[in-house]
């Protein structure tokens, strides 16, 4: 029973992080109608930015997150402005392909620059944990969970309450009308993509503190982010929290009861099932 409780806790803590990973993908998808297959590669890149900040500048991975986010925002803004804005009106398949191509480029560049070794971001408190009755809460995972949830909720408030957030949502609903009200779409698309990538990068920084990273983690993280967006639905940013927790717990349970190699099978199996049964998401509106 203790084991089950611990597994559920671990799954939930991982799930918070998954939610944050998915948020950037869902935002870009919902507003720009681009399913960014390079999303996981940007998460990977963010993890390396954090790793380098920690290793060479000795900046704590949690305190360094704003720097990682700003760096990744700039990368995202540049990619959207320079490349993706050129194909925004192309057929869906072309946007999939081009982001797939970006994924390949980023992964190879990372392999050349960072080498293929497994790395972790190991702050001095990495091994610390809080014991709560029968379960153990690893400190780094707990912190990552807290930051991820806070950022996800903060993002939601930003989209609801601020002028920029409203402009982004307006563009998602109707590009032409938003344009008439003075939204400059080239800039706004780039800002939105930049925010999505900044979230991905920050999620990567957190991921690096709780898990091993290498240049190839991107593809699986893209698929998981996608699965979470689908499970949670694109209509409500808080849906990704539900989706993330669901996936994190499911993976942990599958790893415990079926075998560690089946964690991914479970999450992708659920993805396919949800897609087939309810493509608008478990929480989404009916089509």
């Amino acid at each position: 029973m203790d084991l089950l409780g611990q597994v559920l806790i671990n799954g939930a803590l991982l799930g918070g992080l998954y939610a944050m990973m998915a948020l950037g993908l869902a935002l870009v998808w919902g507003v720009l109608n681009i399913v960014n297959l390079a999303h996981g590669a940007f998460i990977m890149l963010g993890a390396y930015v954090s790793l380098y900040l920690f290793t060479y500048a000795h900046i704590d991975p949690f305190l360094g997150l704003p720097i990682t986010a700003v760096v990744m925002f700039a990368v995202g803004y540049g990619v959207q402005r320079g490349i993706l804005n050129l194909i925004v009106r192309a057929p869906m398949f072309n946007t999939l392909l081009i982001t797939f191509g970006l994924e390949v480029v980023l992964t190879y560049l990372a392999q050349l620059t960072f080498s293929a070794d497994f790395r972790t971001i190991n702050p001095s408190y990495a091994g610390d944990s809080i014991v709560l009755g029968p379960v153990v809460l690893p400190l780094a995972r707990l912190l990552a969970f807290g930051v991820a949830i806070a950022l996800t909720v903060g993002m939601w408030l930003f989209l609801l309450r601020t002028r920029l957030g409203r402009a982004i949502r307006a563009t998602a609903q109707n590009l032409v009308a938003a344009r008439l009200y003075g939204v400059e779409p080239r800039h706004l698309y780039a800002v939105t993509f930049g925010i999505g990538i900044a979230l991905a990068g920050a999620a990567g920084g957190l991921y690096g503190t709780v898990s091993q990273i290498n240049p190839y983690i991107g593809a699986a993280l893209t698929a998981k982010s996608f699965a979470i967006s689908i499970i949670g639905g694109l209509d409500n940013p808080l849906g990704v929290i539900v989706g993330g927790l669901f996936l994190g717990i499911l993976e942990s349970l599958a790893a415990l009861y079926v075998g560690p190699t089946y964690a991914d099978v479970a999450s992708f199996g659920v993805l396919v099932l949800v897609l087939i049964v309810r493509p608008t998401g478990l929480l989404g509106k009916a089509a």
């Binding site: 398949f93 797939f100 396919v272 087939i276």
Partner: protein, 315 residues
């Protein structure tokens, strides 16, 4: 014009068929790889190019074909041909069982669902004892590269003829109708579920055959290499670079990109992997309808062709 074109194609085919008799070992080995990739690109063309369903899961068929041959030859001591047939049966079964539910999805959803299927296959096969789990299987060696080369070329001809048949048959028109407007096709009496599943299976059959030939040629397979997702990247990029939905585009795309990639990897090793990524980004921006369309229209429009493509799709 058509007569000239047929003569040209036959001449190119004769040259390709003669390669094993005058080429070096390295050239033959490169040829086998390039021809099998061309088969994959052309197989993808059936479901992706003609039917308009962007499958990111065709590597599953390839892996099933590889394992069909490996299991039949290693575990059951059956001949190679039976193994190929077994691989085809596996691929068709997969296409029908998973194709029917997954093909109900459109656009992004279909693409990601197939990508997810491709990602779980490695994990599933790693746990199947018959398939040698994650250690893989070692096939009996057959040191006859000429045979493998001619087999691959034969398969490429077969899949290309099949695609050619699509351009002038009721079935092919049905697929194109589904690509252009699925509801419209349905209204006009096309049994869309049947047609899509058949196209998926047909695409799978050729990918499986390519996988089977490759498995026997390299004599070793494991789950990681058989269900390699980057193979999907390659086949799609090659088909799109050449021209999806055309008969010869994917073949030209596959052979030319293989040659460039091979040249790059011998000159500057680290750039070869990057190459495919850059090609697809540039191709989507500058020539989204592939080389075939460039050839058709470049004479009229000149360099403006590329600028017009950008203007048509930019924000």
């Amino acid at each position: 014009m058509t007569a000239l074109r047929i003569i040209l194609i036959l001449a190119a085919l004769a040259v390709l068929a003669a390669v094993p008799w005058f080429g070096s070992d390295v050239l033959i080995q490169f040829g086998i790889n390039a021809l099998l990739l061309a088969v994959l690109a052309q197989g993808w063309n059936i479901i992706g190019g003609y039917t308009g369903y962007a499958s990111f899961g065709n590597s599953v068929f390839y892996g099933l074909g590889s394992y069909g041959v490996a299991i039949a030859m290693v575990q059951w001591h059956l001949p190679f041909a039976v193994g190929l047939a077994f691989g085809v049966v596996l691929a068709v079964a997969f296409a029908v069982l998973l194709g029917i539910p997954v093909l109900r999805l459109r656009g992004h959803y279909f693409a990601i669902a197939t990508l997810a299927l491709a990602q779980v296959m490695t994990a599933i096969v790693s746990n199947v004892e018959l398939a040698g789990q994650n250690i893989g299987l070692v096939l009996p060696p057959l040191n006859n590269d000429r045979l493998f080369y001619e087999l691959s070329l034969g398969l490429l001809v077969l899949v290309t003829l099949t695609v050619f048949w699509l351009t002038r048959s009721r079935f092919g028109f049905g697929l194109i109708a589904i690509r252009e407007n699925e509801e419209g096709a349905e209204v006009m009496g096309v049994n869309t579920t049947l047609y899509k599943t058949l196209a998926f299976a047909l695409s799978g059959v050729f990918s499986a055959l390519a996988g089977g030939i490759h498995a026997y040629w390299v004599t070793f397979i494991d789950p990681e290499s058989a269900f390699d997702i980057s193979l999907n990247v390659k086949m799609i990029i090659m088909a799109v670079f050449g021209g999806p939905g055309t008969v010869l585009g994917p073949v030209v795309g596959a052979l030319s990109l293989s040659a460039i990639s091979e040249f790059l990897s011998s000159e500057v090793t680290s750039v070869a992997g990057l190459f495919f990524g850059i090609v697809v980004v540039a191709a989507v921006v500058l020539m989204p309808r592939g080389l075939a369309d460039v050839f058709r229209r470049f004479r009229k429009t000149g360099w403006r062709y590329f600028a017009e493509n950008i203007r048509a799709h930019r924000l």
